[in-house]
Amino acid sequence: MTTFDANGVTLERIREFVWELPQEGEMRSPARVLASEALLEQISDDKTLEQLRNATHLPGITNYAICMPDGHQGYGFPVGGVGAMDAENGCISPGAVGYDINCGVRMMTTNLTYSDVQGHEEELVDALFDNVPSGLGGGGIVESDVDTVEDVLARGVDWALEHGYAVEEDLLHCEDEGMREGADPSKVTQKAKDRGKNQLGSLGSGNHFLEVQRVTDVFDGEVGEAFGLEKDQIVVLIHCGSRGLGHQTCNDYLRKIEQQHRGLLNQLPDKELAAAPAGSQLAEDYYGAMNAAINFAWVNRQLIMHRTRQVFERVFDRSWEEMEMNLLYDVAHNIAKKETHEVGGEQRELYVHRKGATRAFPAGHPDVPSAYRDVGQPVIIPGSMGAGSYVLRGGEASMDLTFGSTAHGAGRLMSRTQAKQDYWGGDVQQELQDRQQIYVKAQSGATIAEEAPGVYKDVDEVVRVSDALGIGDKVARTFPVCNIKG
């Protein structure tokens, strides 16, 4: 049997791109890494494998803890991690969801082509940067009060529809139609609401961005047509999450778990894996709060999309309807959802945690919106600002291999401190413009350096593995035109 050894961890090769860490010691299940050898070399460079092994200690973990091809070290649970815990006898873990609840990506299509935008790039990037709040303390698109936040938490994009920030069609192209059932605003603390109030409709900073892109390749014409994608078309990608409201919600519940479920916590190898036992009051409370934060994030991205439509209207002097600026889809990649999966021939209800992983349900699955049920759920894989992104569709093998999941991006390769030593923001910005005609604008040069294309893994390789495994099939590739970030 072929094995791969790294940092005291030995993985066994099950088949091409599937590696297994056998169950031993206190592990409650084996773990699996889905990667090529090249990606595995990178994944094993930091503590990803150790964190993946730690994740198998969570109660009720079913089949395997799984690391996606873009996995890297996070905190507690690795980024790129999928863990399905039994919803009756297992647990729900805020640490396995992550701080930025419903951090995710949405793509909006247009009927503009690259030639329509050429010559307008600087005007467009400036207008987007001036009108879409980003960075720290930049406020939000909506000046909200406590009542507004409560309403957003309870109703999600339905709130945006009522207030003129969305149209019906937007809801039909969003998971759960933009409103998570079971959202309970009363379980979100006042502190979290206070933070969210100033930030509704804002990108934040770090790896979050808004990018105008052009479609460079359509690999699957039939699915591409169903998604409304064709070569040379302009699309817009928006990547952000639930802002301070989500971050605070995660920490509030980590602390509650620490105080109320210390016994379980003490069994876990990393405090950041803190979990509430399924069926406990705290598990119910966290699920209600997390679902509310999911709604907040959907509205956040919706508001940014609404503002982007307005910016395009001004720059291109026609209505957004005329430019057919329609939501293709919105995917979450930091989330836990109660889902029914087949396990050992039985239907079981599981809390499927996806932390830096994207749901990728195949064609025919009842939870795929009717607009895409015949072809499979759109999956958006953002790459770095110099490498392009992918649109996939949920693959047939995803239900068996990954609880209906695939990767969420390129995955970081280099630390932020190292990136700032290796790159200077101004140089990166100029090179992207001169060599690749990509116009970038950010609140600080340091952010550009930290997000330089060279700090990420090869997104092509990540997608190659996803496609080959049949968990997320390639549909189209896009390339940046303008990028704004915090």
Binding site: Y99, G135, N198, Q248, R255, D270, E272, A274, R416, G486
Partner: protein, 185 residues
């Protein structure tokens, strides 16, 4: 070193060391500010000082609550907290008044370089028991976010968190401390 920023694949870590628990905790907070904005870009005289307080059941939980509170206050005050100062006290839920009195005496000169660490001299019962109550009174200068280009640190994490006495009894009051904290970016 009061603190150093340490590498982490996706996020950022702060490692701090101080001659007392209080100075170490404050140094981590200064590290949080440095992770948000280059120190030489922070104007020396912008912003007013403000106070904050947190309580928790252990030293580590207190550090977590303190950093969480600083991030919360940053978002609601729209100010980056810098030049952090702290006083820490331990109150025993059972022992009550005696321990409180000890702690209060030991922190009679707050916010000065000569201040003695209350938490370090409370006595032999200074362990992280869950029925203990640790309290922190802190202050910071709030630099308006409009005056700096600051990067958002999303949250403090417990991942790999370390807060430990170096070469000595954590309750002795003469021990140096080290801390390591990973922040989500």
């Amino acid at each position: 070193m009061p603190f150093e920023l340490r590498e982490h694949t996706a996020d950022i870590a702060v490692e701090a060391r101080g001659e007392s628990l209080e100075r170490t905790v404050a140094a981590v907070a200064d590290g949080l500010a440095a992770a948000s904005c280059d120190e030489d870009e922070i104007p020396a005289d912008a912003g007013e000082r403000f106070d904050l307080s947190v309580v928790a059941e252990s030293r580590e939980a207190l550090l977590f609550e303190y950093l969480d509170e600083l991030i919360y206050l940053r978002d609601v005050r729209l100010e980056l907290p810098v030049e952090n100062r702290v006083r820490i006290q331990l109150e025993h839920s059972d022992a009550g008044d005696a321990a409180n009195a000890d702690a209060a005496d030991a922190t009679s000169t707050p916010d000065t370089d000569d201040a003695t660490d209350a938490a370090d001299v409370v006595g032999t019962a200074g362990t992280d028991e869950t029925d203990d109550r640790w309290s922190l009174e802190g202050s910071a200068r709030g630099v308006p976010l409009t005056e700096i280009d600051a990067r958002e640190i999303k949250a403090v994490t417990y991942s790999e968190m370390r807060l430990e006495a170096v070469d000595g009894d954590p309750d002795s009051g003469t021990t140096a401390w080290e801390a390591y904290v990973v922040f989500d970016v």
